[in-house]
Amino acid sequence: MQEPVVTEARTTDRELLDFVMRTPRWFFGSTVVFGAILAAGFAVFILLLMFGLQYFGYSHPVYWSFPIVNLVFWIGISHAGIMVSAILRLSQAEWRRPVTRAAEVLTIFSLLTAMLMPIVHSGRPWRTLYWEFPYDWIRGAWPNPRSPLVWDPSAIFTYLLSTLMFVYIALLPDLALARDKASDPVRRVLFTILAMGFRGTSRQWRIQAIAGILLSAIILPIFVSVHSIVSWDFAVTSLPGWHNTVFAPYFVIGAVHSGVSAVVTVTIVLRKILKLENYIKADHIDSLARLLIAVAVTWGFFLFLDFGFGLYGEEPAEVATWMKRTFEMPWLVLAPIFIFTAFLFPVPMWLFRNVRRSFKWMFITTVSVNIGMWLERYLLIVPGLERKSDLQFVYGEFTPSWGEGIIVTASFALVMLGVLTFAKLLPIIPAADVKEGQILAEKFAVGKTDVPAAMRE
């Protein structure tokens, strides 16, 4: 049980809106740095438009590489918001309150970043548009509704729209608060429009709470379907190393593993730079770490199922793919790094209470998880394509290019800039939720001890 936040309501409002109302100098510096990285990424994209996929050095048979790895990675990260926010809201976990907004915002920006990746991946996007529009039902050729490449945009757009609704409903009280506190007339008008007349009447609170709970319940199946469908992009093929029935839950739980880790990383960074020490405490990080232990162990089980049942059939092509992934260079080096950073290093560390309550160690371990999870997707995608198959006469080894590296870096910069910009415009910790937690917090004596407690309606 977390110690409740003990600040006056006015102090809470002031502290949480501080970054919204006042702009520190470092904000401009960080914006310039992220903007420069984004500009570099955009320049690479222009070169890609000019020269096509050969600019990345792609040749048969590996055409799926960093952009697709990035697509899977960022969609994975986007699962954090819903995992932390919707599930914990439904299960009435009190400790969720200060971390939900950051998780939801991370969901939105990582999803938007993920959606850019297929455009980059296509090299010359107008050709993709030519295939997609107008939609050709008559030919029965690609694109057709039975293709996972059509399921993908449907699932991702649905997820994005429902996440935006979910975040907006949760934001309403804070938008009203920002409206009431804004001194700048432009901001006041903007927040007035966005707050949609929220005045905090009991009816409005009731409707807002019910809408939040309903959306939490509705969004969960969408959250599961999105990464399942992404996994089926790979698994419905009969390509060795990709065709495994465990892929859907394996991808979903992997997404939650990397997503919740990313939430911890972002929360720790925001706590430091926005001076939110009164609101994000060791207890919150501890609870997230406990959640991560359960998630990581489940993910480990599914990883074993993927590996075990890859080899189970003893089919030569399947075995050869796993051998390549594990024993040939450069995968021989990357595979142990993946296992170590995604599982063997962080999970045993989280078993120690001191680590779970240390911001420094939690930052290190959660960054480590995401290094590993990015590598996991890379190890999954490239070796499977690179291996020479039966009727294939042109093949070669894949070497990543600088351009791809810049695209990956730019995608990180885009997400960070997005989260930071959001935090500049609106409170990154839900003020209304934190204050509700303060009201519901109780304490009562059991024997000689005061036990922290929470009210339940």
């Binding site: 199946p221 089926w232 009969s238 089980f301 599914f302």
Partner: protein, 450 residues
């Protein structure tokens, strides 16, 4: 406001609450019927052993269904206790011991496991999870996995029962030396309490891991490894999940029966129904997700060996058990459980739980009968000629029903020897929960000390 039963909140620390066991009576018609069915089950088991070698593995197809059914329901139930302890779910306090006691029937199922494992063919020339690793696989490895699971479960049950047993035995006078040994000389010191709390969680965590591992190896070795071309990575996870679903359903049905027919019923009520109902709904939805993840890949990739295996277990040969399993494990529970009134009432929830338990029998039939009855697992595909369905003989039906009765009787025996409610956990819960006035209404305050 969802709150516990009044009796559960009224338990005070002094005078000590004496947790009760149930008192079954053979003169009761239901108990007598169970005893007769159980005796028939034992006779059927002896007949099967007596005709060892005839008809080979196929003769053990339906006993395998009985084994995997018990391992899915009785072995799944203790996870309800562990999960609620790990998540500090106070709503489950009256259900924890009930769920844990099911480890006793799960232990008895070991008698079935040994002869069934002995019928398995050699590993060479067929798909297997052991990659031709010969040191005892699959017989010793599978038996060891199940043994570790059972030991961890018994450990969890024993540690959680020690404080209650100490109270119950002390009420009858001084403890004998063996009683003192069994309760680790329990006097209720702070150190002992800390050890008891940590012990239940540690044994529970081991039990969960052993449960998953046991389901992984047994569902593979007794199931898909015996059907050429059946290669599904999600299958062990599906099997473990349906086990948890069965465990939940069994706990719900047992709680309903205890509420209806025993003196401990006053501690059990709608608080348990609401939360168990949510969990049952969640596992029901997960059933569909896991099934669909398996099905869509086979349907889409159209690899002939996988399609043939799917036709055997789902679409053609064992279509009827699949449909009945689908109805019992997904469609009927889903349609019922989405309605709040069904989930909020222990009676209606128990009816849904009963349907789930019946559906699980048919699901296990369509998974393990084709595997155990298939004479030739040494290929990579079933080919185009699917084997015929292997129907149950009268002896098989008696066996199946008899062993389910043995499971029920084993639970009743355990519940008559050990307190069926966790008295110390109920007291702990009563101390940490209270109702109070808040503004114009009443709220329920929940203390969470750690």
């Amino acid at each position: 406001m969802i709150k516990p039963e009044e009796a559960a909140l009224q338990i005070k620390q002094r005078p000590a609450f004496k947790p009760a066991s149930i008192r079954p009576n053979l003169r009761h018609a239901a108990i007598a019927a169970l005893a007769i069915l159980a005796a028939a089950g034992i006779v059927a088991y002896i007949i099967k052993l007596g005709s060892w070698g005839e008809a080979g593995r196929a003769k053990w197809a339906y006993p395998t269904v009985a084994l995997m059914y018990i391992l899915s329901t009785a072995a799944g139930a203790p996870l309800v206790a562990y999960a609620s302890r790990a998540a500090r779910g106070y709503w489950a306090l009256p259900a924890r011991r009930v769920a844990e006691l099911y480890i006793i029937p799960a232990t008895i199922s070991y008698i079935l496991l040994i002869p069934i494992l002995a019928t398995l063919p050699p590993l060479e020339g067929r798909s297997n999870l052991w990659f031709n690793f010969h040191a005892g696989a699959p017989f010793l490895t599978d038996a060891l996995a199940a043994a570790i699971m059972v030991l961890a479960g018994v450990g969890m049950l024993w540690i959680s029962t020690v404080p209650d047993l100490a109270v119950a035995w002390r009420a009858n006078g001084e403890l004998s030396s063996w009683q003192r040994a069994l309760v680790f000389n329990w006097t209720g010191t702070t150190r002992q309490w800390i050890a008891a709390r940590i012990g239940t969680k540690v044994f529970g965590a081991f039990y969960l891991m052993a449960y998953i591992y046991t389901h992984l190896v047994l569902s593979t070795d007794l199931g898909q490894a015996l059907v050429p071309g059946w290669r599904s990575g999600i299958f062990p996870a599906y099997h473990a999940l349906t086990g948890i679903q069965g465990g939940l359903a069994l706990t719900i049905v047992t709680l309903f029966l205890l509420k209806r027919y025993s003196s401990v019923g006053r501690f059990i009520g709608n608080e348990q129904a609401i939360n168990l109902g949510k969990l049952l709904l969640a596992t029901t939805l997960l059933w569909f997700y896991f099934f669909w993840s398996d099905f869509v890949l086979v349907w889409y990739a159209r690899i002939p060996s996988e399609v043939a295996a799917m036709q055997l277990t789902i679409a053609i040969t064992y279509r009827l058990p699949f449909i009945l399993g689908f109805l019992g494990l997904f469609l009927i529970p889903f349609v019922c459980l989405i309605f709040n009134p069904v989930r909020r009432n222990l009676w209606s929830l128990a009816a849904v739980g009963g349907v789930t338990l019946v559906g699980l029998v048919f699901d296990r039939i369509r998974l393990f009968v084709p595997a155990m009855s298939h004479p030739d697992p040494f290929h990579h595909s079933l080919g185009t000629n699917l084997p015929d369905a292997f129907g149950p003989s009268a002896l098989d039906i008696v066996f199946l029903i008899g062993w389910i009765a043995i499971m029920a009787l084993a639970f009743i025996w355990a519940a008559s020897r050990l307190p069926v409610l966790g008295g110390w956990e109920l007291r702990h819960g009563a101390m940490l929960r209270r109702e109070q006035q808040f503004m114009k209404g009443h709220v329920y305050v929940l203390g969470k000390p750690d």
